[in-house]
């Protein structure tokens, strides 16, 4: 019996690779296993190698695994590109149709299973994916009835016969494979899971659901990988709440429309990836100087320009902190798990209204698209706080002057009224302005308004700016990361600790303003600080040096080839240090 399994299915894009992974994963999730998926795909609709790697475990997992137990291959390319991940007792289940060849330098077993042939005999070659699921089940000694519910949900609309055929295909694959597994072949049977119901979702789902929970009722956005799922979810769910999504003509329109809607009082989100954020930057500056709340999601992918549009990277950090010309107060948060993506998004709307500034929710491709098991999300921890939004009527006064929308206050935050409110009329402009919004170039006013705006974020209240796993007062290594590297760092840490190394872990959730007070003591008490990030220049490491100093002990561990870190890569880096 094993307590975790790594399974990968690969083939040509457009062949149903994703749905194969999906059906397999949903069924296992419902049995109570924890899953963590990673999709390798290309920026094209059909063709090109794609694969879906899914880790299944009886305990929580937040990272893909170093190695692989089962590889399901629909073409030779899948074998050639992925066999090296297989451990010596791994299994390749390949479609007999392409006469699979086993590479010489692997001890893994290869089984040519007639996926296509069996499916065709049963009615259509499209069901080859189902045959593969059946064959996998035989290797795992998994009761194929666990797939009934999912198959019913997916094919139910097409009629009972289609459902039955697909189940037949799973059974045929299972029966065929069972016969091949003669004595001596190791069955990879998973320990029984706890059977608890948990969610299975991608980070973008969590962000979109978080927006709904936070009272967001409008989105303006432009399609882009890997952010589009957010708008696709909201266009399905907002109408039931009276809201909607506009797919705008471009990213600039998306951002300025979101600013207009937020200005007029509805919680509005926009989401994109690097190229879109570059286009939104002028508007983000407008949000900053006009103190209009704004929530922008940046799902990082490989840059610059079009870069690696379907690959993992974390290289927008500096652009998000400093982007837009001139200087504005801004909040940049970086959830590291799907749960955090949900709760942080709800909080982003609160902070945007409380501090009346742009809030950027930063994710990366792996967090945005990697599907994983999530403990059921709850509304209990979701609050709605709207800051100094004026909701009571403003009494008439003799003085017909404009409302002081930009009143200089101690905390820098001014009362905010939205259009439609009587006696609240004021001007809003991206030109430097006085307390009523009237343009002003006076030096005294400039200082007063700049200082007021920056005062707002001097003491921002953010629930957990740093996720900490700190067991040691004095550590050999402090591992630092942000976004989706949390799982690999956690796993590397366990291995290092088992070998006697003292390791602390800090995952930065509030990137800007940087939580120096939280991070500095951890840096001080570590011999070495290894900052793990998917970019080429070590942006987080540089931000840390700027804010907490100790440049001499900060070591960059970088990866920018488009792939997420694997646990052993973090482990090895730390081992090399000592």
């Amino acid at each position: 019996m094993i307590n975790q399994l790594s399974w990968k299915v690969g083939g040509q894009q457009g062949e149903g690779i994703e749905s194969t992974g999906e059906i397999f994963a949903i069924a296992l999730n419902r049995l109570g296993y924890y899953l963590y998926g990673y999709r390798h795909f290309s920026s094209r609709i059909k063709g090109g190698h794609t694969n879906n790697k899914i880790r299944v475990s009886t305990t929580e997992v937040r990272s893909i695994s170093d190695d692989l137990d089962v590889l399901v291959a629909f073409d030779q390319e899948t074998i050639d590109l992925n066999y090296k991940e297989l451990h010596s007792k791994g299994v390749i289940l390949a479609d007999a149709k392409f006469t699979p060849k086993k590479p010489e330098d692997t001890q893994a077993a290869l089984y040519a299973v007639p996926f296509t042939e069996i499916a065709t005999e049963l009615g259509t070659s499209l069901m080859k994916n189902m045959v593969a699921i059946g064959a996998t089940s035989a290797v795992l000694n998994l009761d194929i009835h666990v797939f009934e519910e999912v198959v019913q949900e997916i094919f139910g609309k097409k009629g009972a016969q289609v459902v039955a055929k697909n189940m037949d295909a799973i059974k045929a694959g299972y029966d065929y494979m069972k016969k091949q597994l003669v004595d001596g072949v190791e069955i990879m049977e998973l320990e029984k899971a706890d059977g608890k119901k948990r969610m299975f979702m991608i980070g973008n789902d969590a962000i979109a659901l978080g927006a709904v929970a936070a009272g967001c009722r409008f989105m303006a956005a432009y399609p882009i990988t890997p952010a589009s799922e957010i708008m696709e979810y909201l266009i399905k769910k907002l109408p039931a709440l009276g809201g909607t999504v506009i797919q705008t003509e471009d990213e600039i329109a998306a951002c300025t429309m979101a600013i207009g809607a937020n200005y007029a009082g509805v919680r509005t989100i926009t989401a994109s990836a690097g190229p879109g954020l570059s286009l939104k930057m002028e508007a983000i500056g407008l949000s900053g100087i006009t103190e209009t709340p704004l929530v922008v999601v940046d799902t990082q992918r490989g840059g610059p320009s079009t870069g690696l549009p379907t690959k993992q990277e974390q290289s927008d950090l500096m652009a998000m902190i400093y982007g837009t010309h001139g200087e504005i107060p801004k909040i940049v948060m970086a959830p590291s798990t799907v749960e955090e993506a949900f709760y942080d998004t709800t909080e982003a709307f609160n902070l945007a209204e409380e501090y009346q500034c742009p809030v950027i929710v930063l994710t990366d491709l792996q967090l945005s698209l990697g599907k994983q098991t999530v403990e059921p999300l709850s509304m209990d921890k979701v609050e709605i706080r709207r800051g100094k939004l004026v909701t009571n009527e403003i009494p008439d006064s003799e003085n017909k002057a404009y409302f002081k929308r930009y009143e200089v206050t101690n905390d820098g935050v001014s009362p905010r009224v939205v259009p439609g409110m009587k006696n609240g009329i004021h001007h809003v402009t991206g030109v430097e302005h006085d307390e009523t919004g009237k343009p002003s170039e006076s030096a005294v006013n400039r200082n007063a308004q700049m200082d007021k705006r920056f005062r707002k974020i001097e003491n921002i209240r953010f629930n957990t700016p740093v996720y900490k796993n700190v067991k040691h007062e004095e550590a050999d290594v402090l591992l630092v990361g942000f976004n989706s590297t949390r799982g690999v760092i956690e796993e590397a840490m366990v291995r290092l600790e088992n070998e006697g190394m003292k390791v602390n872990h800090a995952h930065i959730r509030l990137i800007h303003p940087f939580p120096t007070d939280e991070v500095l003591p951890l840096v001080r008490s570590a011999k070495k600080v290894v900052v793990v990030e998917n970019n080429a220049t070590g942006q987080l490491a540089n931000i840390m040096k700027m804010n907490v100093g100790h440049a001499e002990k900060i070591i960059k561990h970088l990866k920018y080839d488009g792939n997420p870190f694997l646990p052993h890569e973090v482990y090895t880096k730390c081992k090399e240090l000592f």
Partner: protein, 288 residues
């Protein structure tokens, strides 16, 4: 009830004496009063340039945004609060150069707002460069030998983009302009009003006198029918776009708001932000 004086504030415009924009401002204020608006129910969203300052000169909610982006901001405001009257405004550079993409898409989207372009065929605030509305051969600081590009024909462009309300006016025709803005506000959908608003400082060709000589009033064309799109296009082409009045109106097509699936009747801005627990549980269950 508010009068046009209630739409005045104490801010002195920084436009040159004689600028056409003064009259456009006056017409907007009169039209707002004439249709029975209260200042707090009007939001004027403007772009960047001389004319972009207009949102600061009217006593209403006003948002002076970034160059070329008045339309998406204005549509966002309207989406958030469908009870507001939203007027977007700016110059020909704002709407037909940097913001042209938004103009075409706002037209075809047909959100119920009014867009007033103050068209002076020149860049004024940057001190005299060619605009997408400048005639071929027009000499400016950025086209010293004369523009070698074809000017945009905004009215024809609007018709092809699927506009439901297309009008043009001249800033000195205060009465006609006011009536057109009123009609634009009342129109259920996107209304585009291009106003020839001469720049007295930098455009020495398209002057007040030039317009008086060259403009034809559609009301002077016998039997002109603004519901006939084909005839509207022919008339524009025949007069090289130099006509004033209501060029085209389609009262049948529904506005964007009316077509949105299940869009809230009450403004979204007034919606209860708290999510019903049962609905949330349903959403959570969909992921299980």
């Amino acid at each position: 009830m508010a009068t046009f004086k209630d739409f005045r504030n104490n801010v002195k415009p920084n436009w040159c004496p004689g600028c056409g924009d003064f009259s456009v401002q006056a017409a907007m204020q009169r039209a707002a009063a004439n249709v029975g608006l209260e200042p707090e129910n009007l939001a004027v969203i403007s772009g960047i340039g001389c004319s972009g300052r207009i949102s600061g000169y009217i006593n209403s909610y006003g948002f002076h945004g970034i160059h070329g982006r008045s339309l998406p901001i204005a549509q966002g405001v309207k989406m958030a609060n469908r009870d507001l009257t939203v007027i977007a405004s700016g110059g020909d550079g704002d709407g037909f150069a940097i913001g042209m993409g938004h103009t075409i898409h706002a037209i075809r989207r047909n959100v119920d707002i009014t867009y007033i372009v103050m068209d002076n065929q020149i860049y004024g605030l940057t001190k005299g460069q060619t605009s997408p509305r400048s005639a071929t051969g027009f000499k400016t600081k950025s086209s010293p030998l004369g523009s070698i590009e074809q000017p945009i024909s905004p009215m024809e462009m609007a018709l092809t983009a699927g506009a439901t309300f297309v009008a043009q006016s001249f800033s000195t025709d205060l009465k006609d302009l006011t009536a057109l803005i009123e009609a634009g506000i009342k129109h259920k959908g996107f209304s585009l009003i291009n106003v020839y608003s001469p720049c007295v400082t930098y455009n020495k060709v398209n002057t007040y006198d030039w317009f008086k000589e060259n403009l034809t009033k559609l009301s002077d064309i016998e039997g002109y029918d603004p519901s006939n799109r084909e005839n509207a296009m022919q008339t524009l082409m025949k007069h090289n776009g130099l006509v004033t009045g209501l060029i085209y109106q389609n009262t049948e097509r529904k506005s964007y708001q009316e077509l949105i699936n299940n869009y809230s009747e009450t403004p979204l801005a007034h919606a209860d932000l708290n999510l019903d627990q049962e609905y949330f549980d349903k959403l959570v269950n969909e992921f299980m």
